[in-house]
């Protein structure tokens, strides 16, 4: 897969990746997802996304080569690869903030390296390919346990941990009302995971009907279409006894629908980092003293949000890219026990060669797509 500019991707034969560092491995990809956040780079919203890059930060594969410094993996191991590239030895990694690694991204200090996510995240090619270079192979990749399905495994690289951490950062108390903005894969998973932390009520807002139907069923929650609600914040206040939700989760990020002003100013004119209406609503509909948890992706330039209300209401904002490695052991338990069945959100399996169509379908929400998986040539779907 190769990026050619906003809304344009294609497949192209690229050179086989090389071992460039003693702790590198080369992995033959067996599954690669398209993530909602891939759409931000596909749409040209993330600065320093260079033509020729291969996207893809959610993938599984088989180790085909290891560098001389790799000790825990060997050729033939089947691995799931967290989207964060983490060294394991810097102060941030030692404190399990793996998404903030200081030794994987020279281009920016605000974020660690991420596979296939622009040069602002390290300039690494991603996993929407047949082969991929995986740095720090002893730290990030996890050997897939025999009893974990490959389709579940690939969703443990980002979607499930990000949804889970969204709920975890909410500091949910037993009985709390949790509002999730966005019924994409991350919002669906955040709603599902909110129950695991003891939520008393889970409400999801989105504007795409088929996704609302899906989340209602999958996450056993309430779901509302904000297009049919004149004032979503007022609606949520009324839903919570005019008090406000205990926890609001922004699972949308910089391409949120719902405000013409934010869309024009942020997405079309790029005068801010996309549209921040989901975050705006989250801040305004959480209770005083409530918690806003952000996992939606925003670009680096800045956004218009009602920061005065954050101060006046005493809101706590918690945010981060998911620390996948930290969460994996617990999430594997949840998958094993059947509390979370990640693969149920996969709606499409598409050959890697059809990547242009796959991106367009996901971007335009065609054919009721929720989560597409790309299958490289020669790999059994």
């Amino acid at each position: 897969m190769e990026y050619r500019g906003p809304n344009r991707v294609r497949t192209k034969q690229k050179p086989y990746p090389e071992i460039l560092h003693p702790q590198d491995a080369i992995v033959r990809v067996t599954r690669a997802c398209i993530c909602g956040s891939d759409l931000h780079i596909y749409h040209g919203l993330v600065p320093d996304t260079r033509v020729g890059m291969t996207f893809g930060h959610e993938f599984t594969g088989e180790v085909v080569e290891t560098g001389p410094g790799v000790t825990t993996l060997k050729t033939g191991d089947k691995v799931l690869v967290p989207f964060n590239i983490a060294c394991g030895s810097c102060p941030f990694c030692k404190q399990e903030l793996y998404s903030s690694c200081h030794e994987s991204n020279p281009m920016a200090t605000a974020v660690g390296g991420i596979f296939g996510y622009s040069h602002s995240a390290g300039g690494f090619d991603g996993g929407q390919a047949e082969y991929v270079r995986v740095p720090y192979a002893d730290v990030g990749p996890m050997i897939i346990p025999d009893d974990i399905d490959l389709d579940d495994a690939v969703l443990l690289t980002d979607v499930v941990p990000t949804g889970y951490q969204a709920a975890e950062m909410g500091g949910i108390k037993p009985g709390d009302t949790v509002v999730v903005f966005g019924a994409g894969p991350i919002g669906i998973m955040a709603a599902k995971c909110a129950w695991l932390f003891g939520a008393g009520r889970v409400i999801v807002l989105d504007c795409i009907e088929y996704r609302l139907e899906f989340v209602k069923r999958y996450a056993q929650c309430e779901a509302y279409n904000f297009k049919s609600i004149p004032d979503p914040v007022l609606f949520l206040k009324k839903q919570t006894g005019n008090y406000g939700a205990d926890v609001c989760i922004d699972a949308v990020g910089c391409e949120a629908k719902g405000s013409i002003g934010q869309t024009i100013f942020g997405e079309k004119l790029m005068m801010q980092s996309g549209s921040a209406i989901a975050l705006w609503w989250a801040i305004n509909s959480v209770k005083k003293g409530g918690i806003v948890s952000i996992v939606g992706v925003y670009g680096p330039t800045g956004n218009l949000v009602p920061i005065g209300n954050v101060v006046n209401k005493g809101i706590t904002i918690r945010a981060n890219q998911a620390s996948v490695k930290r969460l994996l052991p617990r999430l594997i338990e949840h998958v094993r026990s059947g509390r979370i069945v990640p693969k149920e959100i996969i709606t499409h399996k598409i050959p890697l060669e059809e990547v242009s169509d796959a991106y367009h379908m996901f971007s335009q929400k065609l054919d009721h797509m929720i989560k597409p998986i790309l299958i490289p040539p020669g790999i059994r779907a």
Partner: protein
Amino acid sequence: METIIIDINRNDSDNPEFDGALALTEMAPQYRHINGWGIDADPNNEPTYPMKRYTGDDHERLNYERPPQQPVTVEILHSNERPNISAVFGTVNPPSGLSGRIRRLAFRYSEESLKHWFALVLADRINMIEGIISDMKNDGMPNVFAEMGWGAEWKYNKKGVVKKLLITVAVTALLVMYLRRRNRK
């Protein structure tokens, strides 16, 4: 799903005696239909309760044992907010051409500066044009419609494609008519 009415006034701040564990036990029967309900509830998970495993390593700043340095074989631009290049980095698509010049300029400014980010966005757009020129030189005109996934649009949204085409034709016709009239005057 049945509607569940929750006493939203029941939380820590209203009741200092609130016992999270007890509340979980009391509420569990209500949520029997949700597999795993409350299993990860952590009454200690307050906003101030750290998500990180605090080790004090922060106080060492950058004086930690770094992984071996990946050899620098291509031009790597690095943030001026860090003293060096990280131990590993991607080597794909090093800066080149006009877009590369703009990227080099962008990295003179810190990540705090809008000049840094807007210059990179400008470089991205120029890079796109460079990509088309490069395609034309090497492989001929790129199939932009295929790259944009219009095949899928036609397959799954024929009505939408027809509507877009009709709108485009109508707008173009109006524009042509307007220009003709203006030229006559």
